[in-house]
C-alpha cells in the first residue's frame, strides 16, 4: 500500500499553533522511513494522523491514492500496525491474547491465529513454548518491547507505525533489539514509519530519513544521502560532528566482509610449531583458529607463538575474541577491533561459524569517503 501525505496540516487554537505545517511526502513501500527532529517538531503528530488518532486540520493522506476520509477509521486502524514507546501491553491478557487482539477483531479462525502467534514469537526470538501464556507482569522490559513489536505485526499489515518503540529500555538491550529488528525487517519487508529522536537509531534503522523542524520537512532522502549531504546547518547539527563515524552505523557487515582470510583448522593443526610455520608462510602476523564445523575458537599471534615450545598444544595458545554477525553494523566491527587490538574483526553466523573477516583498512576507506563528501 502506498502512502502519500499531501499538504498535511495540523493546527491548534484556531490556527494559532501549527504542529504540522503543510507537509507533502510520498512514503516508499517496503522501506523503513524515519521521522526525526527535535521535541515539538511534529513527527509524532504526523504519525498519529496516519491512523487518525489525531485528526488532521488540512491537506490529505492518501492510501493508494484513496483519501483517508473515504475509509472507516476503525477498519483503517486494524489494517495498520501500531507500536508505542510504553507499549501499552494489556496486563490482564496473556502474551497470546495480546498478540491475538487484532486478528480476533478481524475474525480470523482460531487455528490461523495460533499459528500466527507462534510464528511471530519465533520472529522476535522468543520461544513460543515458554512465553505464549505468560503475562506482562512476568516479562522483562526487553521482552515486553518484543511482544509489542510482535503485536503490531499480528494481522500482517502492510504498514506499521512505530513511535519510539525502543525508547523505554536500557541502551544495551536497545542495541540488541535494534539489531534484531533489522533482521526482522529484512525478512518481512513492510512499509514502516518510525518516529525517533535518537539520530543514531535513525541512521542505523532507516532506509530513508525525514528530518523535521517546527512542523516542516527540512530534508527527505535516503539515509546515506542525508548523512553525506546534509541540507543545512540544522541537519548537520542534528547529525553531530562525528558524522563519519555515525555513517558506519548505516552499513552492514554483510556487505563489507571478505571471505579470503587466513585461518587455521584446529582439527588438523595441533601444535604451536605447525601453526607458526603456516602463519609465517602466509606472511601474516596472526590467524584465526576454527574448530569443529568451522566454529570460531579465537586467534593466535606469531608473537605469542614464538615464545612457546613448538610441541606445545595449539589449543592452549588460542586467545578468544569478540565477533560480529552479518547484520551487525560497521560501528560494532570497529569497536570489536579496538578491543582486541587486531587489524581485523571476525564475522560469524548465528551458530558461531566463521564466515569471513572485516579489515580495519576497509573501514578507514569507508570513513574517508564520508569525510571527502563533507568538503
Amino acid at each position: 500500500m502506498q502512502i502519500r501525505l499531501d499538504n498535511l496540516t495540523k493546527e491548534y487554537d484556531n490556527g494559532a499553533f501549527k504542529a504540522v505545517d503543510g507537509i507533502s511526502l510520498t512514503l516508499e513501500q517496503s522501506k523503513l522511513t524515519v521521522l526525526i527532529g527535535p521535541s515539538g517538531c511534529g513527527k509524532t503528530t504526523t504519525l498519529k494522523m496516519i491512523n487518525r488518532l489525531i485528526e488532521r486540520t488540512g491537506g490529505d493522506i492518501l492510501f493508494d491514492e484513496k483519501s483517508i476520509d473515504d475509509m472507516d477509521r476503525i477498519q483503517l486502524r486494524r489494517k495498520i500496525g501500531y507500536a508505542i514507546q510504553n507499549i501499552g501491553l494489556f496486563i490482564h491478557m496473556s502474551v497470546f491474547d495480546n498478540i491475538a487482539v487484532v486478528p480476533r477483531l478481524l475474525k480470523w479462525p482460531e487455528q490461523k491465529i495460533k499459528n500466527r502467534v507462534e510464528e511471530l514469537l519465533e520472529l522476535v526470538n522468543l520461544d513460543p513454548g515458554v512465553n505464549m501464556y505468560k503475562y506482562p507482569a512476568q516479562l522483562s522490559g526487553g521482552q515486553k518491547q518484543r511482544i509489542g513489536v510482535a503485536r503490531s505485526l499480528a494481522a500482517d499489515p502492510d504498514v506499521i507505525l512505530m513511535d519510539e518503540p525502543f525508547g523505554a529500555i536500557d541502551p544495551i538491550n536497545r542495541e540488541k533489539l535494534q539489531d534484531a529488528f533489522i533482521e526482522i525487517q529484512e525478512k518481512i519487508k513492510k512499509t514502516i514509519i518510525f518516529v525517533t529522536h535518537d539520530i543514531r537509531e535513525a541512521i542505523k534503522l532507516g532506509d530513508k530519513i525525514v528530518i523535521m523542524d517546527n512542523g516542516h520537512i527540512v530534508q527527505y532522502d535516503d539515509t546515506i544521502n542525508v548523512v553525506n549531504q546534509p541540507e543545512n546547518e540544522f541537519v548537520e547539527s542534528l547529525l553531530g560532528s562525528d558524522r563519519a563515524l555515525k555513517g558506519l552505523e548505516m552499513l552492514r557487515v554483510k556487505d563489507n566482509y571478505i571471505k579470503d582470510f587466513v585461518s587455521i583448522n584446529a582439527e588438523e593443526v595441533k601444535t604451536v610449531g605447525t601453526a607458526l610455520e603456516y602463519i609465517q608462510k602466509k606472511e601474516k602476523s596472526y590467524a584465526y583458529v576454527v574448530g569443529k564445523k568451522g566454529i570460531l575458537l579465537g586467534y593466535c599471534t606469531t608473537e605469542r607463538l614464538k615464545k612457546r615450545d613448538k610441541h606445545d598444544d595449539l589449543n592452549e595458545n588460542v586467545k578468544k575474541t569478540e565477533s560480529v554477525q552479518p547484520y551487525s553494523n560497521l560501528m560494532e566491527a570497529i569497536i570489536t577491533m579496538v578491543e582486541s587490538g587486531l587489524t581485523s574483526c571476525p564475522v560469524v553466523n548465528s551458530k558461531d561459524q566463521l564466515l569471513g573477516i572485516i579489515r580495519f583498512k576497509t573501514l578507514v576507506d569507508i570513513m574517508s569517503s564520508f569525510e571527502k563528501s563533507e568538503e
Binding site: 491512523n51 488518532l53 476503525i74 477498519q75 483503517l76 486502524r77 486494524r78 489494517k79 495498520i80 501500531y82 508505542i84 510504553n86 507499549i87 501499552g88 501491553l89 494489556f90 496486563i91 490482564h92 491478557m93 496473556s94 487482539v101 487484532v102 477483531l105 503475562y135 506482562p136 507482569a137 512476568q138 503485536r151 507505525l161
Partner: protein, 217 residues
C-alpha cells in the same frame, strides 16, 4: 449457655428475620451495583472528564455521611417500612460503588488505552476488553465494601420498621435481654462475614491471572 437461650428457642423466627434481612440487603445492593457501575462508566468516558471529577468529589464527600443519617432522612420523606429502608440502603450502597468504579476507570493506564485505540478497537470494545477488566480490583472492592455496610445498616434500619435481624436486637436492647440481643447480633455478623467471603472468592475467580500477577508486583 444462657447467652444462646433465646437463639436456640426461637430458630424459626430468627430464620425468618434472617431471610428478611437478606432480602433487604440483596435487592437494594444489587440495584446499587448495577446503577453504581453504570454511573461510574458513563461519567468517565473520554470527553466527559468534568462530569467524572464531579461524580468523584460528590461521592467522595458523601461517603462521610453516617448511615444513620441516611436512614433518618429517608424516614422523613418516605415514612416507615421495608421500601423506604431499601431505598436508604440503595442510596447508601450506591456511594462507594460509584466512587470506586469511577476512580478505578480513571486510573487505567493511558498507554493501554492508546494502544487499544491505535489497534482499531471501537470505544465500546476498549471499554469492555481493556478498561473494565483492568478495573475489576477497584470495582470489586467497592462492591464488597457496599455489601458489608449494607448488611450493617440494614440492622439499624429495623428502627424504621424494615424488619430483619435488627428488630431482634432492638427489642433486646429495650428489654435489656442479653440473650435476645445476642440472638440478633450473631446472625447479622455471620451474614456479613459470609457475604464478604463469598464476594472475595468471586473476585478471585473473575480476576484474570494476569491482573493477579501484576498486583503482586
Amino acid at each position: 449457655m444462657e447467652l444462646f437461650s433465646y437463639f436456640l428457642n426461637n430458630i424459626p423466627n430468627i430464620l425468618e428475620k434472617t431471610w428478611q434481612h437478606f432480602y433487604l440487603f440483596l435487592i437494594s445492593w444489587s440495584i446499587a451495583v448495577v446503577t453504581g457501575i453504570f454511573i461510574g462508566v458513563i461519567s468517565t468516558r473520554p470527553g466527559k472528564e468534568k462530569i467524572g471529577r464531579f461524580v468523584l468529589s460528590i461521592t467522595g464527600a458523601t461517603q462521610a455521611v453516617p448511615s444513620t443519617a441516611v436512614i433518618a432522612l429517608v424516614f422523613i420523606f418516605m415514612g416507615i417500612g421495608a421500601l423506604p429502608a431499601m431505598f436508604a440502603l440503595f442510596i447508601y450502597s450506591l456511594v462507594p460503588i460509584t466512587f470506586n468504579t469511577a476512580s478505578g476507570l480513571m486510573n487505567v493506564s493511558p498507554d493501554m488505552k492508546e494502544a487499544a485505540m491505535g489497534m482499531g478497537m471501537t470505544k465500546t470494545q476498549i471499554l469492555f476488553k481493556v478498561e473494565l477488566p483492568t478495573s475489576i480490583p477497584a470495582i470489586a472492592s467497592g462492591i464488597r465494601t457496599a455489601a458489608v455496610i449494607n448488611i450493617g445498616t440494614a440492622a439499624v434500619a429495623a428502627i424504621i420498621g424494615a424488619g430483619g435481624l435488627g428488630e431482634i436486637i432492638f427489642i433486646g436492647l429495650r428489654l435489656m435481654d442479653v440473650s435476645r440481643i445476642f440472638a440478633g447480633a450473631l446472625p447479622v455478623a455471620l451474614l456479613a462475614l459470609a457475604v464478604d467471603a463469598l464476594l472475595a472468592l468471586l473476585e478471585k475467580k473473575i480476576m484474570s491471572d494476569g491482573l493477579l500477577l501484576s498486583k503482586e508486583n
